[in-house]
């Protein structure tokens, strides 16, 4: 079995981890580890970062060969800082991620992704020519793209006719790619990505966005609470399965950088030519998926979203699309508190 490389951010290209002969292991914030991260950092940090750090402190992790951190936001930077303290013997690589999208950023990020690949190969004692390294990366990207295409196709069906269990099944497949292997996820996808059964009638069609919603069971709750998920935009869903356009640029690392910078529309990244475009993107996705309403589900203390919610709310209001904003730690534990809000929202949309 391959050794594992841990990571925490959707801007980590899994094909690079696999190309170096490792298995990916996204450290999800699911743990019964005691709440100790506040001692190393602060209690008012996003629960994602805190819970992941709790896992590190408690040793609630599989054997990891190393960790990949991304400079995606302040909380992630602090997580990387604290990881050094919590697990001083771990190999760690910290990648800088530009905030603005332009050709300079693309060039810089491509170098960062190349540095990641070289580091991972070194960690796995793989000495090979740059040509061979590129070939391996290309190979893993092909599989990744197959998976991404299947996920995208299947997700597209949710907006037309939602079948019970569809959203949670897709999430399971995505999680398999994040924590086990892309091959396994692809196999799952090829076998059973579209659930059987009739389209669910009478539930409110809603588009979801936010940062982290990874537990497949969450989607079962949405169904129970009379919501049909028409589509979603989370760093644990569509933003994680980023297809790589291999022909986007003249070398593979640039192509990866271009794909991730342009497709992975986390609130921390912005298109300087269109300030506030995140709001329009959400409106567009809601419309494209025929949603009657939008639910934003974000982590508490997430600065990039905290600053964008007002503009998102305004943009949705302008289009007369009802919006429900929820905050929590994005695990099953916090869902109970949201039940009334979500059910009331569904009732409101039914009228």
């Amino acid at each position: 079995m391959n050794k594992k490389i841990g990571f925490t951010c959707a801007y980590t290209p899994v094909p690079l981890i696999e190309a170096a002969g490792f298995s990916p292991f996204r450290v999800f914030p699911e743990s019964k580890a005691p709440d100790l991260s506040g001692n190393l950092l602060h209690d008012n940090l996003c629960p994602h970062v805190k819970k992941v750090l709790d896992r590190a402190i408690a040793g609630d992790l599989p054997d990891l060969e190393g960790m990949v951190f991304i400079n995606s936001c302040d909380s992630m930077r602090r997580l990387s800082d604290a990881w050094h303290e919590a697990r001083p013997d771990d190999k760690i690589i910290f990648l800088d991620l530009p905030s603005g999208i332009n050709s300079l950023s693309l060039d810089f990020l491509s170098k960062e992704y190349k540095r990641l690949t070289e580091t991972l190969f070194k960690w796995n004692n793989k000495t090979c020519s740059s040509k061979e390294m590129t070939a391996r990366v290309n190979n893993r990207i092909d599989t990744w793209n197959l998976l991404a295409a299947l996920v995208k196709k299947s997700s597209g069906k949710m907006s037309k006719a939602y079948t019970k269990g569809h959203a949670s099944l897709i999430q399971e497949i995505i999680n398999t790619a994040a924590t086990k292997s892309v091959d396994k996820a692809l196999l799952m996808a090829q076998n059973k990505i579209d659930p059987q059964g009739d389209a669910r009638q009478g539930a409110a069609p809603v588009f979801l966005f936010g940062n982290l919603l990874f537990d497949p069971k969450v989607y079962d709750l949405f169904e129970e609470w009379n919501i049909n998920v028409t589509g979603n935009d989370f760093c644990t869903s569509s933003r994680f399965i980023t297809p790589v356009d291999k022909n986007a640029c003249d070398n593979i690392f640039k192509s990866i950088a271009a794909s991730y910078l342009n497709n992975t529309s986390c609130a921390r990244t912005m298109d300087t030519s269109k300030p506030g475009s995140i709001a329009m993107n959400i409106v567009q996705q809601a419309k494209e998926t025929n949603a009657k309403g939008v639910i934003g589900f974000t982590l508490k203390f997430c600065d990039p979203y905290l600053a964008r919610i007002p503009m998102i709310r305004k943009a949705l209001q302008k289009e007369s699309i009802p919006f429900l904003m929820l905050e929590g730690d994005c695990t099953m534990g916090c869902m109970g508190q949201q039940q009334t809000r979500i059910e009331a929202f569904a009732e409101m949309l039914e009228v």
């Binding site: 009334t340 009331a344 929202f345 009732e347 409101m348």
Partner: protein, 265 residues
């Protein structure tokens, strides 16, 4: 036909029986206590006894409130948001902004001209500005919760309470008392603090409320001091309150039971 609405909140458990013309036959409000199954049975018995109606004559039951799924005999469960909107439509027709301060959370709703909810906001999970908060404050002031609403009469100062966290506010109130600040001044400060909190909740659903009739439901609507402070803080003449604000949710639930039965035909 007879319809029953039951609203199981964290502080009180309310029930309303209506006939097919939406006439209220009887209603009851009791403390939920620690055992909500017991409270449900008791409140149901109260309304049946008071109206002389037999349980078998009830055509449909809708439950609401945070304990809505605990009502085993329900025909359906609907959130308190929808039920309060439905109830207020019957009690104060034309309401466009509805404030409901419940035991553990407060809500603001924007209604369309037909009384349907078009947007709503709920406070965070903390108890600040809710019924439970007021209970704690009444305890700190050593007055009965029902007296609290009138307590600010004649208060002249502009005392501002900075803490809205129940725990901190309680200790702030205690230290104000220790410092010699009068009960009525503190009560006024409390009302203003709750009003400010409520106002910001309302702003989340409607930036501009001019021309929109505002009503308040839920037990806290009985507290005249709070209601007045809310009106002042929103810069409006009046916040309308039903005669029996506690039963708004249960009444709404009963009306939904009636409407759903009629729809099924």
């Amino acid at each position: 036909m007879i319809f029953l609405g039951i609203d199981i909140g964290s502080l009180s458990c309310d029930a309303v029986l209506i006939d097919e013309k939406k006439n209220i036959l009887s209603s009851s409000v009791i403390p939920t206590g620690v055992n909500n199954m017991e409270a449900i049975a008791r409140v149901k018995k109260n309304v049946l006894d008071a109206s002389g109606i037999m349980e078998k004559d009830i055509s449909s039951i809708i439950s609401t409130g945070y304990g809505r799924t605990r009502v085993k005999e329900r025909n359906g469960a609907v959130t308190e948001i929808t039920c309060h909107a439905k109830g207020i439509k019957h009690m104060i027709p034309g309401t466009r902004i509805l404030i409901d301060i419940g035991g553990q959370d407060s809500k603001a709703m924007r209604l369309d001209p037909d009384g349907n909810v078009v947007d709503f906001a709920m406070n965070d999970k903390c108890a600040a500005g809710t019924g439970r908060f007021l209970e704690a404050m009444a305890r700190a002031l050593e007055v009965d919760i029902n007296e609290l609403g009138q307590l600010d009469k004649g208060a002249t100062s502009d005392l501002v309470l900075s803490s809205m966290c129940t725990v901190f506010a309680e200790s702030e109130v205690v230290s104000l008392i220790a410092g010699g600040t009068g009960q009525k001044e503190i009560a006024k400060g409390l009302n203003r603090a709750i009003a400010a909190r409520t106002n910001s909740l309302v702003k989340r659903v409607a930036q501009d409320i001019s021309g929109l009739p505002v009503a308040m439901s839920g037990g806290v609507a009985r507290n005249k001091g709070v209601v007045k402070a809310i009106a002042r803080s929103m810069n409006i003449d009046k916040v309308h309150t039903p005669e029996t604000p506690d039963i708004t949710g249960a009444l709404g639930a009963a009306i939904i039971a009636l409407e759903k039965t009629l729809q099924k035909g």
